[in-house]
Symmetry: C2
Subunit: 324 residues, 2 copies
């Protein structure tokens, strides 16, 4: 155990190191791109960790690959199962295909057609279910019992958390003298993984969470001292509508340097700014960290700050982009 | 002079090497990102050289920085001048600001407001003129005579061509066993620079040009054996409406492995595919090389192919991106 992080969490820095080695050949080491224009505008040097360029379009690929490649051969033969409306679904389908095993992916019937198509593109037909969390969990559990497949939860499975934490290892390596990292939080898999990595290796780097005001369960959980449920599920940042995970929460509670809440309009403005000025396509969920930085720019003046951008799985109509 | 490239061209590999060193601290070494989905779709491994993530949004920054940093102090003091409706204008304004000298940038009055704003963002007020080439050239020449500034042409200035050629050096370094590079051609600065770099260092790598059917002057010039004028100026790929340069033409004629013409619909489809599947924002001009690869995919089966993506300087309306 290194300085700065006590033991007893669901994952340790050794798990993140192991994930880093295990997944290296199967993921993209995404660039951390500085945007000079946004740096000038905000008064700090802003680096975009471009996980929207990751295979399957999101950081979820890291955790999914790590979880699938961690299985012993006997478990692997029985396949994997998950429920997800979003990028974890495609990421797990891809990871299972890489290992040549079955993936059983439960998706709510109101999932985005594009995200369903992404799952199919990896040779996996999603199993549809009702939209509520109990319906999703029941469908996944039923498949698990029938097939003996291993559940790979989108954020609660420790191997998933460790895989997402490799974003932190890469950022430390890619940006000299980094001062702070801003990370969006939904279930907390990415945030907790990054916290374990960064606070173990470079406790001087601040790590802040950013969460939509309309999905503020993590902020309320930190105040209450225990995980609180969401009260609504309608933020435009659809990837962050979940409640913070039981494995992630203690890590976030003990290690995060602060949490910023952002408005819906700020999320959409950040998404547009990322497209127009950085020339990256991010989903609303993947633009939340920049929204937080814009709101809080004053406290980062002169610093080097990384924001994690993810999930570019959007559709563009024929009329959507103009040269003027 | 290395194997494969004779002398007598406007630039040599030594010029490209010198540019590579000169500009290193002032540009982004842009990533060459593989898109697994597009690779699977096309049957070859496709790498996107993401020059849309370059400072000022386009590869033009390389040539502009190289040209400005190549000036001796006396010339530099009198500033630089150019005419451009596009990304070279902003790139030169930025390069001049880096060196602390004046830039006089002539832009047609019908230029995109976004591109004018980009020039202003580097502290340079564009000088507006009529839209025709003679009007642009006259306005720039008048400014040159008045100020003594050095003309930095968007593609004819050898230092600009050498700067764009650094894309070729980086690609060779970034992608093992690369088989082919597809490069869009307008004035030919990028194409000729890449040809000098690649054919000097790795003559086994094929380099193909891609040009809009509606701006086919380079294809006609290659057939005729001498530079031919454009017959129309209405391709959606507005950065490629210029005629091929007199300095670039002999390089292209002697070294290019072929030229592909693409339809307007193919350019727009490629731009959309880049946004939806790769999650990068490219201008139509910057999507032309992918359009060529899609058309010609059959001849690249099983190969490793790089396409140069550039210019993400688009505007997005509030309604332009959807999660479904």
């Amino acid at each position: 155990m290194m300085a700065g992080v006590k033991g007893g969490f669901a994952i340790s820095i050794d798990d993140v190191f192991a994930a880093h080695q295990r997944i290296a050949d199967h993921i993209i080491r995404t660039p951390a791109i500085e945007s000079e224009r946004i740096s000038n505008r905000l008064g700090c040097r802003v680096f975009f960790k471009a996980e929207n360029l990751q295979h399957a379009g999101a950081f979820k690929t890291r955790g999914a690959v790590n979880a699938v490649m961690s299985l012993n051969d006997e478990d692997a033969r029985r396949g994997v199962v998950t429920h997800s409306s979003g990028n974890h679904a495609a990421a797990l389908a891809r990871a299972a295909a890489l290992r040549g095993i079955d993936a059983h992916v439960v998706m709510p019937e109101n999932s985005s057609p594009k995200k369903m198509a992404a799952v199919r593109s990896y040779g996996c037909e999603p199993v549809l279910c009702g939209p509520s969390t109990p319906e999703r969990e029941a469908a996944a559990e039923s498949l698990r019992q029938k097939t003996g497949a291993t559940l790979i939860h989108p954020f609660e499975t420790p191997a998933v958390m460790a895989g997402q934490g490799t974003v932190g290892i890469e950022l430390i390596d890619q940006i000299d003298s980094l001062d702070a990292i801003l990370v969006q939080v939904g279930g907390g898999g990415l945030l907790s993984g990054v916290l374990i990595a960064v606070k173990s290796l470079r406790p001087d780097i601040k790590v802040f969470a950013v969460e939509p005001e309309l999905a503020d369960d993590t902020a309320r959980s930190l105040k209450a001292g225990s995980p609180q449920s969401p009260t609504r599920y309608d933020t435009v940042a659809d990837g962050l509508r979940t409640e913070v995970g039981a494995n992630a929460f203690p890590i976030i509670r003990d290690l995060v340097d602060g949490i910023f809440l952002v408005k819906e309009t700020a999320i959409l403005a950040a998404m547009r700014l990322i497209a127009e000025e950085v020339h990256l396509v991010a989903e609303p969920s993947g633009a939340v960290s920049l929204a937080g930085l814009i709101d809080q720019a004053e406290q980062f003046q002169g610093q080097k700050v990384a924001v994690v951008i993810s999930g570019g799985n959007l559709s563009f109509g024929a009329c959507t982009m103009g040269t003027h």
